[in-house]
Symmetry: D4
Subunit: 220 residues, 8 copies
């Protein structure tokens, strides 16, 4: 086989392997989807363009697809969601990444809430959301342009923050480098950063953190 699927990862890690879509042919994706569906394993395939997704959904009607997140997913049984992850973002242009993070975090068995459009340019819109931001166990903070939102949040709450820079912007934004640097240099402590546009990675880490108490004894 072209790929060694790592079905046992569900034992070692708390979710079966998440498939990275780019660079795989539709034939390879078809085989992977079939293999997961057959074993009734939950499945996530990231970064699948609509035209490729369409072919797969025609073959496997049980699959779902979010065009905004470019995400194919199949979640056989709804696990009872635990804890509560909050995803906050600055503007509409960040929604693809928010969506990827939200679907993934739910797939990993978490309760998720989303706050859109609380960018730094309109701080007054952030204030009414503070109670909810403080209630969350972990915050995923998605921001493009200059990416200052995580710094602002970290000055207001002491919830762990996972910052996701997005490639939304132009010119000296350099496809997300500007917000990436902003987030890495946050002078407010309590922030760590994942790759540009990496909604999945943020959701995975947030899920590990959110589920910490439950899993604390079951590990050896």
């Amino acid at each position: 086989g072209f790929a060694r699927l790592d079905h046992h990862r569900g034992v070692r890690k708390h979710f079966p392997e998440v498939i990275y879509g780019p660079g795989k042919t539709v034939e390879e994706l078809t085989k992977i989807c079939a293999s997961f569906l057959e074993k009734k394993l939950p499945l996530l395939v990231t970064r699948v363009e609509p035209s490729r997704a369409e072919i797969l959904l025609q073959k496997f009607p049980r699959l779902s697809y979010s065009p905004r997140a470019r995400l194919i997913y199949f979640l056989p049984e709804k696990t009872e969601a635990k804890g509560f992850i909050l995803i906050a973002c600055g503007g509409t242009a960040d929604l693809p990444v928010v969506e990827e993070a939200r679907i993934c975090a739910e797939a990993f068995g978490n309760k998720v809430e989303v706050i859109v459009d609380v960018g730094v340019a309109g701080v007054h819109r952030l204030v009414p959301e503070l109670p909810k931001l403080r209630r969350a166990r972990v915050i995923i903070c998605v921001a493009g342009m200059e990416g200052a939102l995580p710094s602002l949040l970290a000055g207001l709450v002491d919830t762990p923050i996972i910052a996701v820079p997005t490639s939304a912007g132009y010119g000296a934004n350099f496809q997300g480098v500007a917000p990436l640097l902003t987030m890495l240099n946050s002078c407010a402590a309590g922030v760590a950063v994942v790759n540009i546009d990496n909604g999945f990675g943020a959701a995975y880490l947030a899920s590990l953190i959110n589920q910490l108490p439950e899993r604390v004894f079951s590990r050896a």
Copy 2:
């Protein structure tokens, strides 16, 4: 005054303000230290060169100083350490950052263990440490050169990992850019990254995560 010290931060955040040493004159640091000591507040001043530290320690004998971490600290009462943070690093050259992270994490009230010299070049040295790595509630993974250690760990355990790239290396390392990029691109999920050499920031976030269960009700 030249600086608005934020003594109330201890209420909102779980530690009084941590002072960033560079750019402050010895006179300013003296005033800050006096103000904290007087209020019996725990104190951390990061990145203080030995020559400047010496002056401060002569004035305030109650202060401690780690030359390797370039850290001044004063911890009035030993809080009972909770949970358990593990700090792993690749090599001796990463020790200054490990030390900064360790002292800070202990100051924030956490139990800390350190594993040195488990770099990617000697994977066999990592294996006997796996049980301890799995027992930790959160891992701070410090690495310079190519910075591959967090990727490796994330493939082996499902503990949240905070990766700290260090500036140890030369040439195409670009003062820590190489390990920073490595860590941001980790193909193993469960890793987020803080700034190059930022041991303090990693300790702060790790502490927030480690103490999640205890603080979950005390917040509004």
Copy 3:
């Protein structure tokens, strides 16, 4: 002569030439200072290291020197200050640039107020300053680390903002590149940016803006 001093600039521009210190020998600086003092022209020499400044001040006791701003200045007659420029900064590490901007702006004939330590990490410290921020005719906003302060201010007031990134920071700060990019990408409108650490340049432009009404008729 090694340098064509541009004494007529005071007519065309609203201040005689400001001298850039680096790269000039002490002999050259001596000649320049003598030439200005003799003509009773106001004088600013930027970026002069203390050891070089000391030699010049011994020769010309009428000169003043700010070691923090590394600025030599001679202001023969106190012009009646007009309008009001506000300089805000995030932290103590930005003070050298604040100082350079303040002395220059005063030398150009402006009233200046300074607000220190209102960084993004402590937004609550910014609120009591809002009335003063709104009263200013133009704001110079100095910030290092991630440099998010100008974005925050631009969302709160509609005063023109000149943002100055500083080289305060480390690692992925890249000597001021991170705040520079943040400021260029500000999603709140009303911000323009000058070079890293360029307090003088910000003061010059702020002065042009502040004095607009008075000068509007005297130009042809």
Copy 4:
């Protein structure tokens, strides 16, 4: 709703929110346009590709569109233009940015004049324009390639200059990085810089400056 429109911004800021087009679906843009038109608010949507603009203009015939500036606009009542902003650019390739700046500046209630093709390569073409350049209250200077025009202007006039680097060029131009750096390093004082191709941002700040005298008392 997907987006929190900030209709009150017109009170706090001197124009209702300007919409950033990229990353919004046509459906979202439709809702936003409808909401603004209904309230008879002036509307600007930046960076809308012709194909997307066509759909919106068919739905809302009252909207206007500039294909060169990729700008949708609706300006219900012609405010009496105040003051005078001058936009100067080096060459034809900068016209899209000039156009974005011009329409925005007029929408913000300013009188605008445009001078095209006065690049550094033909200094003699600049001389006859000097009187007009000196009459302006503020200059927006748009330049691609090496972006030297703002330096040149700042040596000739003492009008505040907002420099806009454009992505016009190739090779070591790096999509506008070369003129961006040129402008940030201007050895002639009186220049500040906005993001590459950010005609809107330049117009917004120029408008704030241009309208300073009128607004000086109405603020609290």
Copy 5:
């Protein structure tokens, strides 16, 4: 002629010239292919897009084409393969480069084996392959994302490793810069690096190394 083909290179070097496809017109490629086929020389043309390849294969049915590797090849006589080169890669997204390296290495007269999907994220999948990795005379290690596989291998075996970073990844991967830096900074010795996506170059050098003993006397 537009190109000086270097048919004698087969004498000086151990393979006739390999043609770099990009930038050549289909007419030029046609002439080159005809010239090689006529002389019964083995032929490799790299980086040929499917649409261009199709035209060439219709003209010259003896040519073969790998769409994944974008490689046209003609190998008149199967040389008896000597030695043994192992190609290892992290994931499916690296397969185009693996394929280019494999076909080239076989064309140069080597026995080749391929191991797919042994990325750092699943170290346990690497262990069963160790005996084969140790048997190889030289390893070509292809990896995208963070590119940590060569470091890991170099810590486990003492076979010469040629590392090939691939452009598979996104965001802070910067089209292969991240794995390139990782590989250059490998803290495990025994690794050298070729250009991003350069499967051909890796195969050429691996072939030179693999065939060393046989050629050691035949050279002067």
Copy 6:
């Protein structure tokens, strides 16, 4: 202990661990040297500044030190040198790296020859060396400035070439980035690259290649 020395590496790899000097205190280096000397293991410590080396050599008179290569070494028994590695460099400024490579390669048990000053700027000096270049089993090619020497050599011989860019140069050399890129883009095949100034790494890989025939059976 602070460092897990890997004395068994001599079994797995063909040389005991090579110590990276920077970041280790003199005390740590002292312990490491003592431990190696006691076990009569060959020892290499790279990048040791003269002042630190002096202290160590006074403690351990059996150690040798090359100030140009900044290398401490102890080679208890002269192994019979096998094969033949050629090190070629462009100019005098590359000698520190040449020296590091030469001592390391000899320590690893190889015969080494060095050709200095055959830079691209004087091709005629290269011609008389061609027979020797062709006789070598592997070439280490060290070059700073523009780093074109490996390309030139690879067009003339079909010996495997390990290219080492050096940081010798200034301005747009960017501390070795220019020759690094030159070498990675070599249009002549047969070249792979190690980190800037990494003479040790080049010697290690060259040694693995040079000793291939002898070790081919002893591995499992």
Copy 7:
């Protein structure tokens, strides 16, 4: 008019203005071409894509077009070519730039010869061309990939060399940055560099140099 054509430049400079195609609408190009043809001025329009060129050539049948160079040209009277410029390049992929340089140089009134495919990888192909290279008054040296050809030539001849890096290459070539840096760092003196792919700029400067003796008295 949208553009101030600089028809007098032919007096001050030795060729009427050369038009930069990108960013101009077809309507604007039409007006420019008409204006030049009407005045019987020689005309060069660079970087015109075939589809746009086709429209212009249908309107103005007197225009010529080179699709490889993407250059439109009209040269009313063949000036008697003076002197002799040699254009040398490394490979077929550089031909678009060679072509742009050749047509431009001929348009400026120079005799031009072209040598293709003398790349560094095949030095032996360069030797028979040395007499011609030495006869030239000035050499334009075009190279992509690692761009080492100018260094090599400058070591062999003492003719002034204008080096043109091209964007031919991939990966760490960074669209021409690698050869640009190589050429700027040339350790052989006698080389200066123009922008990536700037065949026109190289031709213009080469022409100025080539025609120096003739023009030496006619200037004031």
Copy 8:
């Protein structure tokens, strides 16, 4: 010997080898100087720090040294200077590079004139120099900060211009990268660029150009 001096270069090139100082020990420089002095060859050693120069001048009193240019030189017989090279620079900070260029150009047998302090910020200072600028056979234009002077000059004269970016500046100047990019992107034709601070390289090329007519027959 450690270095193959290329004394015959004077025949092939029009000056004996110029020695690059950095990376050579004082002993090596001593040997080189002795060897040149003995043969009565003219000698140039670039980039020699004052402390090293002092030692050499004590040994060889016939040598001269310019501390500003960090240049050691020995010019046995004053050749009759031919032609005329003009060196123009923007400000005092560029003088070290101007000085290196001037001494080298004179050493190569050229008449040289220097114009200082004609930067873009004071265009009016350039006008009186235009006749001299037009009389020159070739211009070396040295500029730091934003480096716009060559663009400006190229718009005013049609003399070949060799542009030298200097590292004078700070912040987003990036040690000369900003003026380097400006010069490469010059929208005025007739400019080519050498490495940052490379006064020697500019002088060498300018000399080749300046002496073209005289040497045109003596070459084969």
